[in-house]
Subunit: 812 residues, 2 copies
Amino acid sequence: MKYGYFDDAKKEYVITTPATPYPWINYLGSQEFFSLISNTGGGYSFYKDAKLRRITRYRYNNVPLDLGGGRYYYLYDNGEFWSPGYSPAKKELDAYECRHGMGYTKITGKRNDIETEITFFVPLNYNGEVHKVVVTNSGKKPKEVKLFSFLEWCLWNAQDDQANFQRNFNTGEVEIKGSVIYHKTEYKERRDHYAFFSVNAPIDGYDSDRESFLGTYNGFDNPQAVAAGKSNNSVADGWSPIASHSLLLTLEPGESRELVFILGYVENSLEEKWESKNVINKQKAEAMIAKFATADAVDKALEELSNYWEELLSKYNLASGDDKLNRMVNIWNQYQCMVTFNLSRSASYFESGIGRGMGFRDSNQDLLGFLHQIPDRARERIIDLASTQLEDGGAYHQYQPLTKRGNDEIGGNFNDDPLWLVLAVVAYIKETGDYSILDVMTPYDNDTSKAAPLSDHIKRAFDHVINNLGPHGLPLIGRADWNDCLNLNCFSMEPGESFQTTTSKDGRVAESVMIAGMFVYIGKEYTALMEKVGNTAEADRATMEVRKMKDVIMEHGFDGEWFLRAYDDFGRKVGSNECEEGKIFIESQGFCVMGGCGIEDGKAIKALDAVEERLGTKYGLVLNNPAFTKYYVEYGEISTYPAGYKENAGIFCHNNAWIMCAEAVMGRGDKAFDYYTRIAPAYTEEYSEIHRMEPYVYSQMVAGKDAKRFGEAKNSWLTGTASWNFVAISQFILGIKPDYDGLKVDPSIPRDWEGYQVTRSFRGDTYKITVKNPNHVSAGIASLTVDGKVVEGNIIPVALDGKLHEVEVILG
Amino acid sequence: MKYGYFDDAKKEYVITTPATPYPWINYLGSQEFFSLISNTGGGYSFYKDAKLRRITRYRYNNVPLDLGGGRYYYLYDNGEFWSPGYSPAKKELDAYECRHGMGYTKITGKRNDIETEITFFVPLNYNGEVHKVVVTNSGKKPKEVKLFSFLEWCLWNAQDDQANFQRNFNTGEVEIKGSVIYHKTEYKERRDHYAFFSVNAPIDGYDSDRESFLGTYNGFDNPQAVAAGKSNNSVADGWSPIASHSLLLTLEPGESRELVFILGYVENSLEEKWESKNVINKQKAEAMIAKFATADAVDKALEELSNYWEELLSKYNLASGDDKLNRMVNIWNQYQCMVTFNLSRSASYFESGIGRGMGFRDSNQDLLGFLHQIPDRARERIIDLASTQLEDGGAYHQYQPLTKRGNDEIGGNFNDDPLWLVLAVVAYIKETGDYSILDVMTPYDNDTSKAAPLSDHIKRAFDHVINNLGPHGLPLIGRADWNDCLNLNCFSMEPGESFQTTTSKDGRVAESVMIAGMFVYIGKEYTALMEKVGNTAEADRATMEVRKMKDVIMEHGFDGEWFLRAYDDFGRKVGSNECEEGKIFIESQGFCVMGGCGIEDGKAIKALDAVEERLGTKYGLVLNNPAFTKYYVEYGEISTYPAGYKENAGIFCHNNAWIMCAEAVMGRGDKAFDYYTRIAPAYTEEYSEIHRMEPYVYSQMVAGKDAKRFGEAKNSWLTGTASWNFVAISQFILGIKPDYDGLKVDPSIPRDWEGYQVTRSFRGDTYKITVKNPNHVSAGIASLTVDGKVVEGNIIPVALDGKLHEVEVILG
């Protein structure tokens, strides 16, 4: 069952009912000001950091669902009222539509012959959310309606905001000037920032105190001010400051009224904080408001945003016979990659924004799907990440985006972390050809006195693995590897203790075959880079280490039919046929095969076949099998989940991509693409009532075959799935791979495909690559011509002429 | 305006409307299982620790207010439904009443000729909340109605529960057996506890999955199961587990049906966790349920609870001509003292239960108003508190009740903390005569290898002050003294940084006159105790130190008309006429005068007169004046509050009691009692629409004269106000003071009083003390007779015969 449809021409998903199976959201903003917005206007905004600079309040796990805060509008018409987005008033509408587009959301609702269309977006280079509201009298009689706006301020620190009421109920302060409501809680003291909510028209009234607006016991569905059709002009003084305007609109039949509301964020330095005693300096806010004084100015900014996305998405464009595939590759997967690049795992409808900052491994992986869009931002991020790396090559697991410093509370010792940095650096250089990044002096542990060239960072990352080997010569797992929940050194028996932060033993026994596979795969990339920059000695050393690791994997990491997952702290096999539960895991199969282990002797194929047989389901591949049905103190968090959920045999979409890549490496394009379609959101749209999450973006997890809710997704948006699936489809399946000297063409597709066309911007040039498959093969190139000239091998040499180049590829 | 009335005979406050100005709550439980319950059934339960063992979910700062969780009931009658407590259904009732009593709450609601009475309580020695539900057909026709119960489980750790959704939405698990719904999330792994919700009758259906019960987007006001009159028999699997029963009740006219619902908590050791694989061992739960299988058993437990409170409250009973005074002294103030003893500042409608544990200084002070009730529990608490003391005599500022360990996150260095321990120990011995507590081997920092007799702890507490003196010889303030918000060593400029936990400089300049006053007051008590136990050398040493401190106060701590508050880090005066704002503070006036400073030379009276003139308002005494109107980095948090709120010139009721005591010490009973009535809750009942908080308990703060909301209270229930006001009224004003060798009688009352009678249990005896005031004086005793015999002095010698003794006191 569907709850809307894709409008590919407009790059929108159009939701046709407010009653989606779960709130279906979008993100606004892509630089410093971010917002989450659901299909009924729920959500919140923050500046840079969802924990430390939360601008508006949102209640997670609210009852009613999603009615915990948002940018709310109400229309009051002659004694009755409704909301154009259905929520919060929840009065039936004659028409409803929500269009989630690239960086904007447009909600339209109609009732009583009044059509209201609201476009929400964050303009480029702007620290604010703009709402263009168009109210139209679509009836035959003149109308006099009142429009009420509403939002609730968060007292900046989102965690403290929901805990420290004995203080917080006393601190709220606002200022009101004209049509602008300023939120200035704690500005009097140490804060250098305030927020505002404005409208570009004179108002009839306002409220800034929540209780005055709602009534003591009313909900957002029934504010007493709206029910009465009249604001109270309340001035908040403690408790919960809000911002609500009311405007009387007189509309002739057919007449429209356009209004611009702005939710803005302003920082003032200490010297420029005040206009006069306790009166805030409003200069910057007024400039922001002036910028969008008219609906025309807003339309122009919307057009700029549209052009911005047109340009970004033009860098990789697919024309295939499959609409679902086209919309994933051309629109939604790339769009989601931008969101994961911006936010890592910090703020979604499942990530509360107060739990954590930017992940080291997460952000490095997110770069893989993003860096072709804006390489400069990728470069900056790489340096930010590397700056939190520790001197021994290890890494803080997370950092706060506001401070860009490593997060002490979480700590480090996740032994896969450093390798992802190597992969990100390699991918950046392959995309850009910019080797100079290797020379950037980059601090360790954010200490500039400990700066070293980035090349030193990736060397230490590589060495961190070989400096931490266990009894079999496999890499020690540390607190955990990519699978945060496989905690082989924790041995926690304390109820509720966090596996991620509690003291873990400095285990020198438990080893990860997954890190070993990563080391081989990424180590080869490191080797190639070293060769490329002429550091042959380092390349030779690395080659030797990689070869050694590969041998160790084949000797100690293969279980007969598939790759082991690990050795535990007792030196016992994890992910082995010998185990009672958790006999096979997905991660090591993916990375070992991607690294080329077992290709020669058929073990790679064996492992992939075992994946299909034991982990395959119609909704994707489960992480492990059989699921754990009891707690294993020696395995940790993975065995705390009910069977079929999350890391315990859930369909963890992130690692599904590694199997796609591995199948592609083996040339099994049919299987690779089959796995792709099992989890790609556009393909899940048909059964949204089961899947429940947004059909335009990936979710982290889908309940596995052992779960009662098999097929139900969770944790949409912020997942490494987006990036890795883009890598899998664009580079491994469609086979257009950036390489040092050009674009490598190496498809691995379903045999029955006739062909497809990819238009790829690369280092300033554009390559229109037509792939033809007359012989119905999966892989292998029969011929490659560039601008009519035959090229040997499978690399399109980079032209660097800024021009369009026609490429024809014949498979066979 | 009033929203109810006191029913003194039943020791209840009767609320007659659900629309109180704020939810008016009660506490259930007084040992290990606690609940908060509002007048419409909102609130939550926990076992020992509101953060780590939260049993049911409650959403603070919810919209609609208080509709964020509770124990909810719905009646379904032929297509329509309502809640007997008004919430959550919010349908109009024909009758409504809520009776908050001693450890129980009874809510009655009537509609459609159905009267429903629900009594909520936690039986003595029982880890569960019992709901006795009586449904009566008060109409003339037979009725067939359905009763729905509802509560929502918290996933144990209340902080994690509202943050870690990416995990928590996957972990929820329940079991259902008969009429019992068991909540067992994480029991599979490390938890040794589960909860259950039962009813003592066969059920027609159940729900344990929130979404199934409510519908995806519905609120608690409109659950789809209730609207349909039918449960879905849903079994939770992740997301939000709940517990709801439905029962069909067929009632003839006049017929009643009694049901018993139980919300229980069970712990099982590792060995006894399971009945069979993944099936929890229910033995303990079944025993708990069996205990209250009948309404009769419940009634008996209610009677036991009533007897328990009758006994507790009999220990200090006043008969005066003032009903408000009687109900405060005899019922509500003592009741609140029990609550503050149990919970410190951990869980109220303002304390979210996740911010902190038990305060060191808070709990020591709370003991003062509690220890006459159950001295054994006071003794245990004193040892718990002293066990977290540090070796240098300082203290952790807070500890977690579940672990009883000092809270590292908050730390220490609040330099008044140690002195409160001395005061608590002295009060305990005076109440009980039990000197053996001084010999109890008590750890430092919870390290049993560092145990020492409690007498050593109080010595180190005393010495901690004199080992930390500043340039004037006054005590260094450390991070802060009693006024947490006067942070003279923080110098914080970082937005949002916590003044309580951020690194504070090890200031050796800023001094506290308040601690100096405390040292004199409490030091004298320490001296007397040392004399009492025959440690003359220590007594002499302490006397000398106290005398020295008193001299220092008079030389450096008096500002001409009142006592200074402190010296800041620059050595400048705080709370001086020289200051621009904050010229006078309340705390040092109270403690210096209580300590006897300035009594001889009239400075004490001068200071108290200044308090009246500068701090007095009709709603109580403000903390300081003038309020701070800007941020003073050298003063810290106090200047972050808007003027008139909290520590910045709010009426901080806690310290109002110190002025009452000081006025009593000076024999000015009229003023002492006047201040008492300005803040005592029963006297605020008349203007509840301004005061807004419960008129039966103290609030921490009332907005001061500089505030826009002058007279509005906040932070009700958990405040040191309860304990100190009980000390002020019972010991300083009514003047019945426990002393080492008997009860001291030393009233300080309004001159126009004719007299009063106090019945006091003391060390097993009962003293019926009749105070007569024929000469209309405030203080001074003309004669004292015990059982007809004249006693010299003002101490009733302790009889230790377990009998009733008649005491007559003539003032004059």
